[in-house]
Symmetry: C2
Subunit: 234 residues, 2 copies
Amino acid sequence: DLVASTAACFAEGPLAGQRVVISAGPTREAIDPVRYLSNNSSGKMGFALARSAARLGAEVCLIAGPVSLPTPAGVERIDVLSALDMHSAASTALTRCDIFIGTAAVADFRLSSVAEQKIKKDSSGPAPSLALVENPDIIAMVAQHPLRPRRVIAFAAETEHLEQHAGKKLATKQVDAVVANDVSRTDIGFGAEHNEILWVGAHNTVAFGPANKSAVADFILQQIINLDLHHEPS
Amino acid sequence: DLVASTAACFAEGPLAGQRVVISAGPTREAIDPVRYLSNNSSGKMGFALARSAARLGAEVCLIAGPVSLPTPAGVERIDVLSALDMHSAASTALTRCDIFIGTAAVADFRLSSVAEQKIKKDSSGPAPSLALVENPDIIAMVAQHPLRPRRVIAFAAETEHLEQHAGKKLATKQVDAVVANDVSRTDIGFGAEHNEILWVGAHNTVAFGPANKSAVADFILQQIINLDLHHEPS
């Protein structure tokens, strides 16, 4: 951590001196000791952003759900499993954070109770149903926190009505921009090497891609840098 | 396939000329286009068995759920996602199968209906609950099939009462043996490199391990070979 911090002090590039916190991947919500709820997020977009941000001189902290991806060079990584774990790690990270980018596909719901032993199948009775409760909204917590980072960027994984959902998310969550992508397509989004996104800020909506996730990451970081260059209030 | 079959014809070893079908890994049950139910199975035990069986001369077909493991050399691999997919692949494989080893942690339940679009969070209403229906029992289907393989081995991932659960499974599913392991321990079982198992056959119960999963695989295959050596009726 000291080495990384020291390196960041001497870093060059448009994000030198900035601490960027990125959440990535899915979360896992336990049902019992072996079963869980999760989603198809591969974490690739968040890891690409971490790599690009480090290359642009930022000090990067990556809060990663369960993914099988190597940590980008020079990036501090915090591994978490559940949405509550990720919420807690994000909260802690706010003590030192200039830019927060929430790419993680955080589970909206967790089980209302987690079984201590593996639930046994009992074909005699009716099939069970899983009662859920809503998880806390991490990106809204970050954007509305007393220690709010200067810039907060949300992601929206949608399967329809991208711009409409993104616009709504921008307003309700009070973030600086929402990056929306269509995860119903198999050529882009979850698991794919490429992405095609819609950047929806307060003053501009820009489409980018399809392009590889590294190029998309560079584009997104440039948009974030532009927010300050254009002196938009944070 | 022809190359593999030809190779198997010339293979040496105690399993030469035998076709071994192994299911491995978890299954994923879709909730909507991005969310799913799954479990912590890493597939490592099944992949270790596939590797060992091929080394012992068998022609091996590995039906794999979503795992990030390389295919062992000389092994035919069929990738599947859901329990229904795996059921169908296992069914098809029975046309040519001498030994079936069900290591997969097949989801007992799937969603009663899969949403076509991503389910949106709506904090105004009550949290949803997920209605489930039971999946078909793949190992029971295999063991009770008109094309039943000569040997059918089930796995039981338990968190308590191993021998009792395994004995019950042996009888109800009509398999030749049940391999039970305790997945509540973090040093063995799901995700771990090691395993400690209880082989529960009709005439013997043998504990093995802790040992690395490759040694456990060799032990299990030797037990299966012993079933024939001791002329136990299949």
